[in-house]
Point group: C2
């Protein structure tokens, strides 16, 4: 197996990526890593037989316009994606800007035959800790019912092969539980999902997204993006209010001090930040986006995800499932 | 001024409505109230000169199908709405099921001439305590750009006349800040809003909905419903996690006890429950929906809202604004 690793595009520079690559290279002797970035900053990786440093002089910044990636051929991100395009690697991992990385994947990496639209998938942290895959969360601003069915197939296969869920429960994000709810497209998508081979459990409403009762939630890119961002914004706002409340009096400050440890560990299980990352679905390679602020541990787990996707032939099986 | 008050359809029965009506009738001698419900339960209101009890033997339950309201002619809710239809009152207040009340309004109360679609408006509690009006939050499953422009006009007039905001800032809920974002309908809505007389400030993303930087957010009923419910679900989930964290150890329990008062008062300012209620917009009468679990104070403030709407001629001014 061969993976391309973009070392430069994250918020924290290349240090956490280097650390993650070192650990990964030791534990996976069978995997060849191609790490793209400024070679003088990646010296530490030279000692590994299974790591090749690919010099890239440019870096895609978080603030760059996503479309600008077209012209950033010398960047670590595009160099990693080009290796996927040229069949030199089986997967790509980056913690760069979601917009640029997705745009780059669309421009440079082939879609699986039969996939009408590629999309972005987020894994929501849920109250019961199972996690729920939500797709599309914003790659498309308009989708057809057939595309939604394909999102369901891809999400279901992913849950089964990567997350190890038996017969993943697939639901459709809609404005009510009944099958006639929503606009024409969503009514049609309901029918297609119901008649498919998927374990389709019906419509789900925004209120239930974080309950974790289903494994996959299918949505069009427009509503999905609004749902995801509304959830992120609300989680942040409620946390701010709790913090303000805890710091508002001497008594509550003492209380906050005593409760801090427990509160932190409880909240870390439900990290809204994990909502920020997204997987690219529908491409012929495993394209994994780590969170922009990934530390070594977070980046390593994104690498393991790419490894699991390739190891389990997720792309091949999606090809079959979509035929 | 005359208002019809549905006394029976709330979660807590008629007691809080009676208490609210008593206070209101004393403070507003110029207003005639028509309170619909089982007359034997409303005896306490007999002593008021400006209250008329309208006997209604049936009650619309929270669990009834919204469409069932068609046949519930003898219910307190429909009797109140019929008084609006027959021009016997200027406004209606109910704390019954949102779905049934909105369906009833659509069936029995006229729309303002020129209003293509009536809609539901929620007032979001925001971090800066200004509050933001979001419409449509789910009356329609599909909208046109022209309808979104009308929602903007209605929301803006409401903010100005009822909430006292000078030149309300109006934004469009979309999947990015730039004017070309979203599907064709949202791009067209952007143009119409920009070319209108409104103080249109551009697109807003789901993440910013609770910041309170704008006064009115325009959205189609499908995305709006998903945004509102996603926010409700997330607020509830985060609160549960905070609670679990605070109760997870002896130390944190003591801390929670000390911080309880401050935390409660901080959270009460941002009551996610207030998101549950909704106003009916676009009708020729002031149609106000109080939260299902309203106590006397909450119901009273819904009555005051109806009063302000009628007193300030909101419906008349919407008619002019929409010409």
């Amino acid at each position: 197996m061969k993976l391309a690793i973009d070392a430069m595009s994250g918020d924290l520079g290349c240090a956490p990526v280097i650390e993650a690559c070192e650990g990964f290279a030791k534990d996976h002797k069978d995997v060849e890593l191609f790490v793209t970035g400024k070679k003088e900053e990646l010296e530490a990786l030279r000692v590994f037989d299974n790591i090749t440093i690919v010099d890239a002089r440019d870096v895609v910044k978080m603030t760059d316009s996503p479309l600008g990636v077209r012209r950033q051929k010398e960047s670590s991100m595009v160099k990693a994606l080009m290796m996927a395009r040229n069949n030199e690697v089986d997967g790509v991992v980056s913690c760069g800007s979601t917009g640029a990385f997705y745009t780059g994947a669309m421009l440079f990496v082939k879609r699986i035959a039969g996939v009408e639209k590629s999309c972005l998938m987020a894994t929501l942290p849920t109250l019961n800790k199972r996690g729920t895959c939500l797709l599309d969360v914003g790659a498309n601003s308009e989708n057809t019912a057939e595309q939604l069915k394909q999102f369901g197939l891809m999400g279901s296969l992913y849950s089964e092969l990567v997350r190890g869920v038996n017969k993943p429960k697939v639901a459709l994000l809609n404005i009510g539980a009944e099958d006639h709810k929503g606009d024409e497209m969503h009514q049609e998508a309901y029918k297609l999902l119901k008649d498919s081979s998927l374990n389709f459990v019906g419509n789900i409403e925004g209120r239930e997204l974080l309950d974790g009762d289903v494994d996959v939630v299918v949505t069009d890119g427009f509503s999905g993006n609004i749902a995801l961002k509304s959830m992120e914004g609300t989680a942040l706002t409620v946390m701010k209010i709790v913090k303000n409340g805890l710091l508002s009096s001497t008594l509550s400050k003492i209380g906050a001090l005593l409760a801090k440890g427990s509160l932190k560990s409880s909240l870390s299980e439900f990290d809204y930040k994990s909502v920020g990352g997204a997987l690219m679905m529908g491409f012929t390679k495993a394209i994994v986006k780590a969170h922009g602020g990934s530390d070594a541990k977070a980046f390593r787990s994104a690498m393991e995800l790419a490894y699991t996707m390739v190891e389990n032939d997720v792309v091949e099986k999606m090809k079959e499932g979509l035929e």
